[in-house]
């Protein structure tokens, strides 16, 4: 419980309607979209309306030593917004304005509470695109997406969130406000704090304004489905497409378990006996797209795809992508708990990773389906389980450990796009070593010496 005095200070700054204190409200900020996580009730939820208010709130928190948990829509998958130490949830959802779309500099300036899709709806009217598209585009905020450095289906050709963040306004842990970066393509003034704060999961500062890069929206696109009777062949096909200097916007894979589940769910015509399918989309100028589609089709056939199908029209295209988008929800319905990981490897190691996951599933007697962004090496091994079954959960944790070990040993990383949060904190030294973790800690302590910003995430306080 917070002292009455603290609440009064908060109400003075924000108004009573933007300070929630009743447990029936607080409990709805005790969780996020991460499965099998313990929930934690915050002591207060505040919703500032301006950068100045954020700064004031931070100063109050500093004076009374209250942890601050910044939160957008709470759709992350790493426990990143769970207020593990109570304190204050700082909801950024009322800072939800698109401040400017600059067609000459190809930038947009937005507040952190803007929903990604809302930005894309606006820029599309001008023939522009903000490419990062995590599965949660219609719900996730720009601030949350920046803080988790989310990726999505277009990573292979267009990169991920960090490639589109040009400038930030940040409230620091002492309540001071700074601006970094801007609309210029080139900027080497000082350390690159824009890069540092992107993906920092709200542990270093609170982002209150974001300048992002926009690109011209591609004129045309074409989707292709390829069916394989062998995971290795699918893996070789992925490498072969890239080696032939074609960079599809999207190159997705689904394994047999995923195919079977998805097909029963949406009836998209996926072959149930396939070992893997690849879903590919090329985009760009109409002429280029036509040519690339033909080339991709030929490569897939050369790599012994059992079947290659190019979507004839929007309806066929939509059905293919519906199948892909339904992967997670379809899998989620099979068992009560869905543990979704995002271990990532260099794309050449995809077949090794897929086979390792299959071995791990057999070894621990678990149901693991794998799908994901094959083109950028980002797989989503998805463990279907039940958190009420303690014995099975033990095996789940062992399997997760082994998946991460495998990813790192293949030259990959713990997390491609979901972030570390609470979920993967304990694995950090596997990837960085003790010295690396210590370096992380020194950065955290330089910017937030009292561990007030999203404490308990990424860096453990010792």
């Amino acid at each position: 419980m917070l002292a009455r005095e603290v609440l009064q200070e908060l109400i003075q700054v924000l108004g009573a309607e933007n300070v929630l204190t009743e447990q029936e409200d607080l409990l709805t900020y005790a969780y996020d979209a991460t499965a099998a996580m313990k929930h934690h009730k915050p002591d207060v939820v505040v919703s500032p309306l301006s950068t100045e208010q954020v700064a004031e709130v931070v100063k109050i928190a500093v004076r009374h030593n209250i942890p601050i948990y910044p939160r957008g829509s709470g759709t992350n998958l790493s426990g990143g917004t769970i207020p593990t130490k109570g304190g204050m949830v700082l909801s950024m959802l009322n800072l939800n304005k698109i401040l400017e779309i600059d067609q000459d500099n190809l930038t947009a300036t937005v507040q952190p509470g803007v929903i990604i899709q809302a930005l894309n709806d606006e820029v599309l009217k001008l023939g522009l695109l903000y490419p990062p598209d995590p599965g949660t585009v219609t719900t996730a905020t720009m601030g949350g997406s920046l803080s988790e450095c989310s990726g999505g289906l277009r990573g292979l050709k267009y990169g991920v969130t960090k490639h589109y963040i040009m400038g930030l306004q940040i409230v620091l842990a002492n309540g001071e406000v700074i601006r970094w970066g801007g609309k210029t393509v080139k900027n080497v003034t000082g350390y690159d704090l824009v890069a540092l704060f992107t993906g920092a999961e709200g542990t270093l500062g609170i982002v209150t304004e974001i300048i992002v890069k926009l690109i011209p929206s591609p004129e045309a696109r074409k989707s292709i489905l390829a069916v394989f009777d062998d995971v290795d062949k699918a893996g070789k096909a992925i490498a072969s497409i890239i080696r032939n200097k074609i960079i599809p916007a999207t190159l997705e894979i689904m394994d047999n378990v995923t195919i079977q589940t998805v097909e029963h769910f949406v009836h998209a015509g996926l072959p149930l006996d396939a070992e893997a399918v690849l879903l590919i989309e090329v985009d760009g100028y109409k002429e280029v797209v036509e040519r690339e589609a033909v080339l991709v089709e030929q490569i897939l056939k050369d790599e012994q795809a059992v079947e290659v199908k190019i979507a004839k029209d929007d309806k066929e295209r939509d059905l293919l992508w519906l199948a892909r988008r339904s992967a997670l929800p379809a899998l989620a319905q099979k068992r009560p708990t869905t543990v979704l990981e995002d271990a990532t490897v260099p794309r050449s190691k995809i077949p090794d990773m897929l086979k390792a996951i299959r071995r791990i599933a057999d070894k621990h007697n678990l149901n693991i389906a794998t799908f994901g962004h094959a083109g950028d090496g980002n797989l989503h091994p998805t463990i279907l389980t039940d958190e009420r079954d303690q014995d099975e959960m033990k095996r789940v944790h062992l399997a997760v450990d082994e998946i991460f070990q495998t990813a790192i040993s293949l030259g990959g990383t713990l997390s491609g796009e979901h972030g570390i949060g609470i979920a993967k904190m304990k694995y950090l030294d596997w990837e960085f070593g003790e010295a690396g973790v210590a370096a992380l800690r020194r950065i955290k302590e330089a910017l937030d010496p009292n561990y007030l910003l999203n404490p308990g995430k990424i860096v453990r306080r010792d």
């Binding site: 979209a33 499965a35 709470g74 959802l93 719900t139 009560p336």
Partner: protein, 429 residues
């Protein structure tokens, strides 16, 4: 086990929710408040804490459960197929079992059960409504605003009570020359007391199609206002009364022109009465032959196209939540509109977005209701039409209030009124 009888009935629905938050993309309340408790995920969590014993049912919790228009947009957008409408109804019924009904609602629902008193009250109200309501001059609708604030503001535009109720204007059996069918008409309260013009159009169109219309005098409120607020006892009593009244007169089919009434006859009566074998059987029997009027005229007895006269209207159609998502009816009204000579149908941006009326929701949360309505009004204005058609009298009230307060010249009508108008125009030629 139905959602009205036990909270345990929804544990499976709760398990399905993986907290992804996709409901945030479509929830009309959350779009306004941006508070987690407004959206399905938030309230699902609260029900989970309630079931696990972490919290108890309190009045404050019941307040949170009132934050839902039951528009079912979240159901449609849920990747895991969670039926949140079931969850919220079960939570509200549990709140009433544990904490009792809000005193104002208790009085209101009791009145609904006492048909004669209610009728008397409404008739007296029709004479004396001028005391509280100030008539707003309008060419086609009899509408008014509150003269003083009773807690819902004075901006809201209401329909005036009809001087004669619909059911008193017709005999119990409206005969036609060579009837091809005998159809019972469940009027619902809003059409009986306020929008008698909709009811008259229903009778007119059915007669035009050689259908004998039965309007049982013994019918009453559908009980939906009670059941969505957790007052299961009142809702069950009303369900039985209606079933008795219609069973007494009998009919080949039953039609409604109100999305709540349709939901009641098709789904809710059976669920409420599941533990009463005799009435359950009756409810199922009538559920099987209940139709929304547009559904009836497209699928059951295709309406006569000859004799349709020209009606010059630019129309946009608003999908009532309980007709569209609740009963899967959205093509039928459009098909009727498109077949009327002279009618141009121009779609608005999100025709299926909730108008924010949601019955008593608009009384409990008047500001929120108006905020949601304002978005709908803005979408309507962009269509540059002269008429909004819809399939539900409650939506009509809300839409009318919205366009009137925005100063937009727009008539708001039930689809069936435009069809009746067309038959009338056909006769003139």
């Amino acid at each position: 086990m139905s959602v009205y009888n036990s909270l345990d009935s929804i544990t499976e629905e709760l398990h399905k929710c993986m907290k992804c938050g996709n409901c945030m993309a479509v929830c009309p309340i959350y779009k306004e408040t941006r508070q987690e408790v407004g959206v399905a995920r938030g309230k699902i969590s609260l029900v989970e804490y309630l079931l696990s014993g972490e919290i108890e049912m309190t009045e404050r919790l019941a307040d949170r459960f009132s934050l839902c228009t039951t528009c079912m947009a979240c159901n449609t957008n849920c990747p895991c197929g969670v039926r949140f409408d079931k969850i919220i109804l079960a939570a509200r019924a549990e709140a009433v079992r544990k904490k009792g009904l809000h005193p104002v609602k208790k009085i209101a629902f009791t009145a609904l059960k006492m048909q004669r008193m209610f009728d008397f009250g409404m008739k007296t109200g029709s004479l004396f409504q001028g005391v509280a309501l100030k008539h707003v001059p309008h060419k086609s609708d009899r509408i008014a605003r509150m003269r003083f604030d009773i807690g819902i503001g004075t901006d809201k535009v209401f329909p005036m009570l009809a001087s004669k109720t619909l059911r008193s204007e017709f005999p119990e059996v409206v005969k036609v020359k060579n009837p091809k069918m005998r159809v019972a008409f469940f009027t619902g309260c809003m059409i009986n007391y306020f929008y008698t013009d909709i009811g008259k159009s229903v009778v007119e169109v059915l007669k035009e199609n050689d259908i004998e219309v039965v309007i049982p005098k013994g019918q009453g409120c559908c009980g939906i206002p009670a059941s969505v607020n957790g007052d299961v006892a009142s809702a069950s009593a009303l369900a039985k009364r209606n079933l008795r009244a219609f069973e007494k007169l009998g009919a080949d089919a039953l039609v409604v022109a109100c999305s709540s009434g349709g939901t009641a006859w098709k789904h809710v009566f059976g669920e409420l009465l599941e533990n009463d074998p005799e009435f359950k059987a009756l409810a199922d029997k009538w559920a099987g032959k209940s139709y929304d009027i547009s559904e009836f005229l497209i699928h059951k007895v295709p309406f006569k196209k000859q004799g349709l006269g020209r009606v010059d209207r630019k129309v946009t159609y608003h999908d009532p939540c309980h007709l569209n998502r609740g009963q899967g009816i959205n093509k039928e009204p459009r098909e009727i509109l498109k077949s009327i000579p002279g009618v141009t149908l121009i779609e608005m941006k999100e025709p299926g977005r909730c108008c924010g009326m949601a019955g008593s929701f608009s009384l409990v949360h008047p500001d929120l209701s108006v905020q949601i309505s304002d978005r709908k009004t803005a979408d309507i204005e962009l269509t540059h039409t002269d008429t909004v058609a819809t399939g539900c009298p409650a939506c009509r009230l809300q839409l009318k209030s919205g366009v009137e307060n925005a100063g937009i010249e727009e008539e708001v009508l039930h689809t069936i009124q435009i069809l009746a108008e067309s038959y009338r125009a056909g006769k003139k030629n």
